[in-house]
């Protein structure tokens, strides 16, 4: 309260500016990792996890049963609306479509994930479509 009074009276502008820049720096520091945050998606039957790295534009697919790992490159993220994010491959095809619905599910546990995801693997050894949950 005292600091606020001082600023309002213009008696301590350097401290006010320092505080403002400090707050802005804090926001930027916190925001930077968020913008490059890896999106982790959980699927079951088959038991698979995917990890999207927006900085590297890679989608890493891990098959839990046989420990196979595949990395798909050139995957871009496109914000379609306030709640829809699409991951597309180099051909422009939708690979994963995420909806920020807080109704995502791994299909087996009772946990609700922030994002519900529909994945189209385009792989003859996989189901045509898989639904899952992402964080």
């Amino acid at each position: 309260m005292a600091a606020s009074s001082l600023s309002a009276k213009g008696q301590d502008p350097p401290r006010t500016w320092a505080a403002a820049w400090g707050a802005l720096a804090a926001i930027l520091v916190c925001a930077a990792p968020a913008s490059a945050q890896i999106i982790t998606c959980s699927f079951t039957e088959p038991f698979i996890r995917t990890f999207y790295d927006p900085a590297r534009k890679t989608l890493t697919i891990i098959q839990d049963v046989d420990h196979r790992r595949e990395v798909q490159r050139g995957i871009t993220a496109e914000t379609v609306s306030a709640v829809i994010l699409e991951l597309r491959n180099g051909k422009g095809e939708i690979v994963q479509r995420l909806e920020h619905s807080f109704r995502g599910s791994d299909g087996m546990s009772d946990r609700s994930y922030p994002y519900a995801v529909t994945w189209t693997p385009r792989d003859p050894t996989m189901p045509e479509i898989l639904n899952g949950g992402c964080t």
């Binding site: 959980s42 039957e45 038991f47 049963v65 791994d106 299909g107 546990s109 009772d110 050894t125 639904n131």
Partner: protein, 215 residues
């Protein structure tokens, strides 16, 4: 902690089904117990094409983002039941079947080893011995808990929203008819040999494939 479903292994053995008890199964569960089992949810693993029970380790232990057990039972391709947990398992997720909305708390989960695919390089027709064990095992469990064949559902039937899951890949209406027939036989004590090498009584000379039954 010893959980409620400690009768699973004996019940399956009493139906003359091959059973392997996974070490520690009577003390294994996640999130509590299944104190009042109301039915069975049938699953397929959608796992690898090769091997008898390649998904067993994942179904027992889960993975970093999904705690195991992921079913109480795993049915291997040779018809063996691996008994994994006597407590609750993460197998059902959100859904509804006959007004039951808490599948993990109320249903026993059976994961059957199958890719779930009808076409392509991982096409995986259900072996007769495995399907027979599936029918007889479900029948024995339902009889034990005092439920009818209608309380056996597929994961795809249970899961909401509709279409979220598609397992198991066979026709569940036909499966329930087969289970009902098995329960009738179990009920009148004709289970000295559960016909493991023969088809279920309602469908002689037929074989299950993904998506249905062929003659």
């Amino acid at each position: 902690m010893v959980f409620s479903l400690t009768w699973l292994a004996d019940t399956l053995r009493a139906a003359n089904l091959p059973v392997e008890e996974v070490h520690g199964w009577k003390n294994r569960g996640v999130g509590g117990d299944v104190t009042s089992a109301k039915g069975v949810v049938c699953h397929h693993t959608a796992g690898p094409l090769a091997g008898n029970a390649p998904s067993l380790n994942v179904v027992i232990h889960g993975r970093p983002d999904l705690s195991g057990p992921l079913a109480q039972l795993l049915l291997a391709r040779d018809g063996t039941y691996y008994v994994i947990a006597a407590g609750r398992a993460n197998h059902a997720g959100p859904g509804k079947w006959h007004e039951v909305t808490s599948g993990n708390a109320n249903f026993i989960g059976i994961e059957a080893e199958n890719t779930g695919l009808a076409h392509g390089p991982k096409a995986d027709p259900w072996p007769m011995v495995q399907m027979n064990a599936y029918r007889w095992g479900v029948a024995a469990i339902l009889r034990k808990i005092g439920a009818g064949a209608s309380m056996c559902c597929g994961h795809g039937e249970y899961a909401l929203p509709k279409g979220r899951k598609n397992d198991p890949s066979f026709d569940m209406d036909q499966f329930r008819l087969d289970v009902d027939a098995c329960m009738s036989i179990l009920g009148i004590g004709k289970v000295n040999n559960p016909l493991l090498q023969r088809p279920a009584p309602t469908m002689p000379n037929q074989q299950y494939v993904n998506g249905g039954v062929i003659a």
